[in-house]
Point group: C2
Chain length 343, copies 2
């Protein structure tokens, strides 16, 4: 994993579901410079099994997130092997004994980074793809006064029951490997991770993506090459407990569980004050566009703009030229939108 | 498995992919009586892991397939545990040594049943759901002179690459169980079948089906109850090698591989003379409606009529009242359509 990042240590970091990380280590990378008025900060959390490099396709002098103009902070997800994770936490709380971490725990650590560490009171934009979108919605609900604009893409404000079933199938495949040993493995459960990858392969792109053999655009001449060279390669070097820790975080995402919202998703979404532009993907199989279209109806001034095409969920990853251009343009649009000051 | 059926023995049944069943045993059930002119026969092949009872929801005096009017033949799929299957074939060709069987092998056995056994020259209708649809298309392409009408539902004329990936994920989950032992298990690989069921659960119904908790209509109060009481219960008593045999048949379905079609799907579909009405399901995740809508364009006079609703693939199973009524009405429509005599 990458070492070109900073670490914020959070001593005695108490977790929503019980337990404490002593300390929690939040890894992050920044791009650009914070201006003197501290008004140009963008927070860009990452997706499942990614790291801060995952977001770099949208950051650059010719991209929507231009580091000459914005100060972009990319925090790593707990469990991703760079921030505190099963694989890098010493006993007695590492590996199979790593505590359950919620999206809100991630956001709370990021909040310390943004406020106490950088002294930022308001973020010009929070955005993110997939689990990054889960974090974006949580920021918008949990800290409305701090989020001027929100752009979740290929995500949702809560993980739907179907999405939970999809994630359960990944877990079932991985943990079936006899080498997994309830997380107390001595060698990586590679067969389990391969089965996990094989299940994921059906979900990441649309049916039509495979029909059209669009994987050729990614450099894989055959379906079999794609299943191994793309899908297995994406997960095989990841730690199994890390994958399962992030998966738990994903499964339990729900902004309506934010204190004060009392399980009411409409109330939670209705409390958002950020100018919100959601970008679901047309053929996304596990965050289907209906999730964000429905959610946008309950967000004051909320808008959902569907990313067209056959790439499905992974159109949010930057490798689909059409999807990347669509997202880039939407980020520019939203950043150009004037918003009222925080109350 | 059911014993209320007939068996046609096919001695020395040579298989498309090599190997011979000595004999092949084709299990079937019939409903109604063949009329003296032998013009009222309907062939209704079954779906994956089903048996002849699976189709009975569409057969009855108040149903589209009225046994007072039609002679309905329901053949069991090779591999389903009733027709020749790994689980019921003696050594040396049973269990893990069972040969690979194609959809065309199934249709060839059914052709013997229809012609040599019953003396039928022309079928008023061939219809089927899912793998039953794969068989329906194969009948229409392989025996155009015999099929007056074809009504494939929730299926396709060939298994798409994405569908293949879905099936690979089922196989990966099942075979990862250490108890599976390459098919030479001494006790059923139940953990593998449970993981197989968990993967299948994400695919069988639509995302919205789970969102709306429609499983309550099937008598399951919670998602967890549904995952075990419906999905695991559906597969846990099936033989693992049987499941994998049927899965192989499904994965390799392709009417363009019919002799004379030279791999050309448009040519294969263009050769169909049956009046064809295809019923894909709106939210089907592994036989998406695009498959049959595209196919219908190449079938002379072909029509695709999308079954609306959120049940996804399993709307074809008869438990969705709206889907069942839609399919029933379509079967009546098609049976009422006059067709030209065979040339």
């Amino acid at each position: 994993m990458s070492t070109d990042h900073e670490i914020l240590e959070l001593p005695g970091f108490a977790l929503e579901n019980g337990g404490t990380l002593q300390p929690a280590r939040l890894a992050y990378q920044t791009y650009g410079r914070l201006n003197s008025s501290k008004t140009n900060a963008v927070l860009f959390p990452i997706w499942f099994a990614g790291d801060h490099h995952s977001n770099e396709w949208l950051i650059g002098e010719d991209r929507a997130l231009d580091p000459r103009e914005y100060f972009i902070i990319v925090p790593n997800l707990f469990g991703n092997g760079v921030s505190s994770s099963p694989s890098n936490t010493p006993p007695p709380h590492g590996a199979a004994d790593f505590p359950a971490i919620t999206i809100r725990d991630n956001v709370r650590a990021q909040h310390v980074l943004v406020t106490a560490h950088f002294g930022i009171e308001r973020l010009a934009l929070v955005l993110g793809c997939s689990m990054g979108a889960l974090q974006t919605y949580q920021w918008a609900v949990g800290h409305p006064e701090m989020v001027a604009r929100a752009l979740p893409f290929c995500g949702a404000p809560e993980t739907s029951p179907h999405n939970v079933v999809f994630l359960e199938s990944l877990r079932a495949a991985l943990t079936l490997d006899a080498a997994y040993q309830g997380g107390r493995y001595t060698a990586p459960p590679l067969a389990g991770i391969r089965a996990f990858s094989r299940v994921y392969a059906g979900w990441g792109f649309s049916q039509a993506f495979y029909w059209e053999e669009t994987y050729r655009q990614l450099g894989f001449p055959t379906l079999q090459d794609f299943l191994t060279g793309f899908w297995e390669a994406n997960f095989i070097d990841q730690d199994a407990n890390d994958l399962l820790a992030m998966l738990w975080t994903w499964q339990h995402a729900d902004v309506s569980a934010t204190p004060g919202m009392e399980g009411d998703i409409k109330r939670a979404l209705g409390s958002i004050t950020a100018k919100t532009l959601a970008l679901p993907a047309e053929k996304d199989l596990y965050f289907p566009p209906e999730d964000e279209i429905r959610a946008a109806q309950y967000i004051p001034g909320g808008e959902a703009r569907v990313i067209p095409g056959i790439w499905g969920h992974l159109t949010g990853g930057g490798a689909d030229p059409t999807g990347a251009a669509f997202i880039d343009a939407a980020v520019r649009d939203l950043l150009a939108t004037e918003v009222a000051d925080a109350k």
